[in-house]
Amino acid sequence: MVVAKMEATARRPRLSAADKIYFGSVYAILTLIFLLILFPLVFVLSASFSSPSAVAAGRVVLWPVEIGLEGYRAVFRNKSIITGYMNTLIYTFFGTALNVAMTLLCAYPLSRKDLRGRNAIMMLFSFTMIFSGGIIPSYMLMKNLHILNTRLALIIPGAISVYNMIITRTFIQNSIPEELLQASQIDGSSDAGYFFRIVLPLSKSVIATITLFYVVGHWNAYFNAFLYLSDRSLLPLQIILREVLISNTIDFSQVVDPEAAQAKQGLADLLKYSLIIVSSVPVLILYPFIQKHFVSGVMIGAIKG
């Protein structure tokens, strides 16, 4: 950091004309991309805090118009949204716990060079990344296992993401020195003991990273619920979101007074914005905490592995 600073101050006065043009255009492009990415996010946030009539008239451009919380009130008054939210919390919690446990169980032995048949087992896993049975055979399997239309249908399939397993395996392999294994073997530690006492504590950053990936995956998952669930009381948030945001099927009797006919459409549109915020915020606030981990070597390990 200090070096970078010195470099910067040392070079700044001597910027050549070519460099000036270069940096000018780089900043222009980056700022443009930055604004293009940022704008929709700010727009949704602003709209969610505006009034139904402002939203309905298209008066929100950048900042909130007639600030209020009506959209949020409508969101929290809607029973199916609350049920969906609760269900998603359940699926995310149990699903992620199973994911992380299974991934570690799998990644640790495969990181050991003294495991016979390691390459064959790796092949068995990697092959599923480029070829799969597809939706119909998977659906038939779920049906035969009788987990169709149960909570298990969203927790058990996809218990291991091979991609995350490879990230974890590569991390364990590259960042935990082999001398530690030898030392602990001399101390009489078993393979399981080594895993719990040495590997787990040293793998915190990769565990944090895959946990984030799995949490986001469960939180945003829609496909499996769409295929496997029909019971309304089991539906996760994303399915409810689809009904509200895309199919426009929203039960107004739950939301507003029937007589407020005129405000209905405005409120329906406003509710969409507030719902987007309510459903996305948990994941968005999680990631800055873990961001530092996945940049630190985990991602580069993934591509080298």
Binding site: L41, T128, I130, F131, R242, S280
Partner: protein, 326 residues
């Protein structure tokens, strides 16, 4: 005793073989805990990944849940499900839609994160850099449902920012973009780029951070401009990463994800938005007569093409640049 060296040799051979076998068994049994760890993941893999692959056989059978003969008991029909698909009028449509959407996504979506990473990497102001990165990663964490929902709100001809701006500029009513078949591709691809540009650039930034700083220092002493250094040091430094990602992405050419395409579909834009994955779903699960065999055949056709492409591209990459996935 030594009169028969042949016998001794074969004797010691057998002995050696025995001890090799014993050592082999030892090397497994002494690691039994590791295999125990793998037991559950392997069982899971076989049940949820390989059993469905065995289920692919119904693509060559006439499966009917009403007949109750199951996957294994149904009669073989050879390739008739495939020929039925190839001769159906939907074949050309879903194939064209799938390939054109994904090729467009690949061509437009591949270079942008590279340019983004190279630009970001070359600037010095840390605060600026961090802010841009922070915002750029964010859309990646938004779900597909929310993304499509946001898109539809933004391009809404009446209340969306697009509709409002269009009316303000032209004085006319804005077109309903989500219902236009010609707009589907652009909406699909550019919303995808919006969502993933930041995230995809992480891997390039990681590769860039691994470039030896001495190269830059030497080039600076030689009077190279920043742009020249980007061109001759940074860019070659990320080429291997770019190739690996290109291989991975090219394996997805026939794979337009179900979720987003399905969410963006409506009766008006179906002509260009029906892709293979959504069609498989409709044939197999959504229609009144659930034709599992036919849908599986279409899905299998799709997977096999994907599989061949990824193998093919990997070979080419290995031959031409010496980098490949395996």
């Amino acid at each position: 005793m030594d009169s028969n060296p042949q016998a001794t040799k074969s004797h010691s051979d057998a002995e050696r073989k025995k001890s090799i076998r014993r050592r082999f068994i030892m090397s497994i049994t002494s690691r039994w805990q590791l295999y125990l760890f793998l037991l559950l993941p392997l069982a899971y893999l076989i049940l949820f990944a390989y059993v469905p692959m065995a289920g692919l056989q119904i693509a060559f059978k006439k499966y009917s849940s009403a007949l109750g003969m199951g996957i294994w008991g149904s009669p073989w029909v050879g390739f008739s499900q495939f020929t039925k698909f190839f001769s159906s009028y939907m074949f050309k449509r879903v194939l064209t839609n799938t390939v054109s959407v994904s090729l467009y996504a690949l061509l437009a979506g591949f270079p942008i994160p590279i340019l983004f990473a190279l630009s970001l990497n070359s600037i010095q102001r840390r605060r600026y850099k961090k802010t841009v990165q922070m915002v750029a990663y964010m859309p990646y964490f938004i779900s597909t449902v929310v993304l499509v929902g946001m898109l539809m709100q933004m391009i809404n001809p009446r209340i969306g920012i697009f509709g409002v701006a269009y009316t303000a500029m032209t004085g006319k009513d804005a077109p309903n973009l989500i219902g236009l078949p010609d707009a589907f591709r652009h909406l699909y691809v550019w919303s995808g780029i919006w969502q993933s540009v930041g995230w995809s650039s992480i891997i390039y930034l990681a590769a860039l951070s691994g470039i030896d700083t001495e190269l830059h220092e030497a080039a600076q002493i030689d009077g190279a401009s920043r742009f020249q250094r980007v061109l001759h040091i940074d860019f070659p430094g990320i080429v291997p990463t770019a190739i690996i990602l290109l291989i991975l992405n090219s394996g997805q050419i026939m794979n337009v994800g179900f979720e987003k395409a399905f969410l963006m579909q409506n009766t008006l834009n179906l002509r260009s938005s029906e892709v293979i994955s959504t069609y498989v779903y409709k044939v197999g699960l959504a229609s009144g007569i659930q034709d599992f065999s036919y849908a599986t055949a279409i899905g299998l056709f799709n997977s096999l093409i994907n599989f061949s492409i990824i193998i093919f591209v990997n070979q080419i990459a290995k031959r031409t640049v010496g980098e490949g996935l395996w």
